[in-house]
Subunit: 143 residues, 2 copies
């Protein structure tokens, strides 16, 4: 199965589902993801190290992990949950789990800078999350 | 090991550690827990079903699960993490996990009413959380 495509499709699906007013209707999938998640090294230089994170950005980060959970469900049929906690200063943690098994987990310390360097990086990261989730699940599932 | 005592002591320790201004210095441990966590059926009748939850209450709920995590660490030496997510309407979820294993997990739907009917109920619930956490951990830990 093409995990990269599955991840990207699921993520885009999640974002578009929240597009209540059609703001992004004319944007291509790639443009949408570029705008939300891709920051070059140059871009990052213009984002302060210490800054507050806004609700919108917190939701965008959550969507990435919701996409991991949902894509994992599509592959395995196993239901997952996402719990994310984030302070307004951008410290936080997210965990994706199925039953008693933690599939994916990440700690944030400057979440307002959360981004990927390129579209390919985002694809790869999604693929990695899904591969690791499957490996962990396969290891523990028969207990 | 007396899990009830361990849980209560850990919970009280967490609460007192946050007592920056000595507000609770003259309260006994039991009074402190009664005030924070015990609501009789009669009390609950006076708390609306639908209401907002304040930051203080969210912290108090978190402390219960932090106490589970910390008490589990004391027993096993294994480090745990707590991630809790709560909307201002009192919908939320908390998960306590160690490595890849979910030790304890709870979904809230009217968290502003979160409470135990009696001091003994609180003790018992703490004991149950710790017993279940140990059972789950023992089952999965050798993988």
């Amino acid at each position: 199965m093409d995990l990269k495509k599955l991840f990207i499709d699921t993520l885009v699906g999640q974002i578009r589902a929240l597009d209540q007013f059609g703001t992004w209707a004319n944007k291509s999938n790639e443009d949408l993801l570029l705008e939300k998640y891709i920051r070059s090294k140059e871009d990052l230089k213009n984002i302060p190290i210490i800054a507050d994170i806004d609700e919108m950005q917190i939701k965008d980060i959550r969507l990435v992990y919701q996409a991991v959970a949902l894509a994992f469900e599509k592959i395995t049929g196993v239901m997952c949950s996402v719990v994310m906690e984030m302070s307004h200063e951008g410290f936080g943690r997210v965990v994706v789990f199925a039953n008693k098994i933690v599939l994916c987990e990440k700690y944030f310390k400057d979440a307002h800078r959360f981004s990927f360097r390129s579209y390919e990086d985002l694809e790869k990261e999604g693929e990695k999350y899904l591969k690791n989730a499957q490996e962990t699940y396969d290891k523990y599932k028969n207990i």
